[in-house]
Amino acid sequence: MMRLLKLLLPLVLLTSGFAQDWIKTGTGLGVEKVRLAVPDFSAAGQDAKNAELLKVFNETLWNDLDNAGIFDMVSKSFYPLGQVGNPADVKFEAWSAAPPSAAMLAFGNLGVSGNGMTVQGWLYDVKNVTSPQVLGKQYQDAATSDAARTTAHKFADEIIFRLGGGIAGIAESKIYFVSSRSGHKEVWTMDYDGANQRAVTHMGSISLSPRVSPDGSRIAFSSMTKNGWEILMYSLDLNRLVTFPRFGGTNLSPAWSADGTKLAFSSSRSGDPEIYTVDSSGANLKRVTSFRGPDVSPAWNRKTGAQIAWVSGRTGLPQVYTMESDGTNVQRVTDQGYAVSPAWSPNGQFLVVSWMRKYGPGAPGAQDIYIMDIASKQWVQLTHDGGRNDFPCWSPDGRHIIFQSSRAGSLQIWTMLADGTNQKQLTFAGSNTQPNWSWK
């Protein structure tokens, strides 16, 4: 009887509950990188200025997309002939078939009129002829090469955001680091790709371990003052030092919590170096560790803000540990050798550390960058190319790692994808160390 009552229900169902879309997909379908073709943008004007800005724009856009680590860039020698400056110019079949075999096409045009520059850019799914447009953008800015670079960064980041699963691109992020090229170790900054290198501080002393705040407005660093090593605070909005308390003893390696309200650092004010936390205003100083032996180099969990990884020398050689930010639940992460410089991944799952796995007489002593999965304690070695590799730091998108390496003869800053591939040197002049990547 119940079954017969249900006879009436299908009629109701037919008119409701059908407006839902399903995606059906799975593993093993190949997760190759997206094949992306990026023909040079075309010139919408004729003058020399237009050509000059176009060159900057095209180079920057290509490099940003190539550096992103999520695309298989289709070599330009495979491109069909003819400019692609507007949607009407796109010959779908020519791009989607071999030899380019592109999945995606980024194209557009750049025009200069007077002091202004207009850029139109599109991203097309060339295998989808009926509704190809993934992205269409127009930018207006001053007709300068800086603006052309910035516009290319913005458009690249839009593409990366869409095709990279909602993670913002890093083309507009900054690196802070220590450089000796002025004769003193000062805090310097550069774009993520090594462009626009310039000094931030002019202390005329020794400044180390710059760490930029999550909102990008301040840099905390340690500097040799006349009272010893203290934590200093530099405002990037005001372009000068701002007040921060002196704690006494040797104070090193400040680290911001993810919400920007706290700093952790090491201080020897009570004897042994121990980890302390303090509000970003300088108030509420709290001692977190009290172990025999040095405790240094804290780093907050960037995802939860609840844990701190740090380096402890309690067993002799330095090892990496994690704990809750109140000092409870101490866990050892590395099991041997000499491990320093932990930094947390943006998603909170991984630590990146600098590690000499075999340390001591007879050991080769290579110092390499490793990633540790905190939950499983599995690790992956990222550098193998000799030299001493130290001070790793994650990019805001979690896809890149920046670090210092001696492999080129002097200490320089290098970048790589988080799987260890695509290693590139970013600095060349003087000695450049202790890189720190902005949070966005």
Binding site: I23, K24, T25, G28, V31, V34
Partner: protein, 183 residues
């Protein structure tokens, strides 16, 4: 190791032979028999459609073949009609993003190391307007708890797939994702 297999065909079940006999006997059905059959057919269809509303029933459907789009078809079917319903074809790039991101976040070493191969596990979830995954459920278990768990974790680990395409009208899209495990 060799296993000897019996190659002789066993006799058909009695129920099957009875049905075959009944069909082949060829006596014309009575009006009552036809009426009953019609009621049975309609009842079956009705219950079938109604069942699509119950996750306990829909999880028994499948497997679904990769990339299949069935306009006005079944499970399926009921997923692909009405309100747009062409997500997979219009936004193939977004489907690819989901596929890539889940695959990247699936940590196979979370699976019990004693397992070398297992049945496909099906997991369903929704991607909300802002791109975050919600309502993660094992739709069809692999029979290996650690594999099922690694699959749901792969999705829970993801903060966002990126906002749904801005010209897509609905406020979520549902995903059925399968994981094939082989060591």
């Amino acid at each position: 190791m060799n296993i000897a297999l019996a190659t002789a065909r066993p006799a058909a079940d009695k129920e099957l032979t009875d049905i075959a006999d009944y069909v082949l006997r060829g006596a014309p059905p009575t009006d009552l028999a036809l009426d009953t059959a019609r009621a049975c057919l309609i009842d079956t269809l009705g219950c079938g459609l109604e069942a699509l509303e119950y996750p306990a029933c829909t999880k028994l459907l499948g497997p679904i073949v990769a990339g299949t789009v069935v306009p006005n078809g079944a499970k399926g079917g009921f997923g692909f009609t009405g309100g747009g319903g062409d997500f997979g074809s219009r936004y193939a790039w977004y489907v690819k993003v989901v596929q890539q991101k889940v695959s990247e976040n699936w940590l196979k070493y979370e699976v019990d190391p004693r397992i070398s191969t297992a049945q496909r596990v099906y997991v369903t979830f929704d991607v909300m307007r802002d791109g975050h995954p919600a309502n993660v459920q094992v739709e069809q278990s692999s029979g290996v708890p650690s594999l099922d768990q690694s699959a749901t974790r792969a999705i829970q680990r993801i903060d966002t797939f990126g906002p749904l395409p801005s010209d897509y009208a609905a406020n979520k899209v549902s995903v059925e994702f399968w994981f094939d495990y082989k060591r």
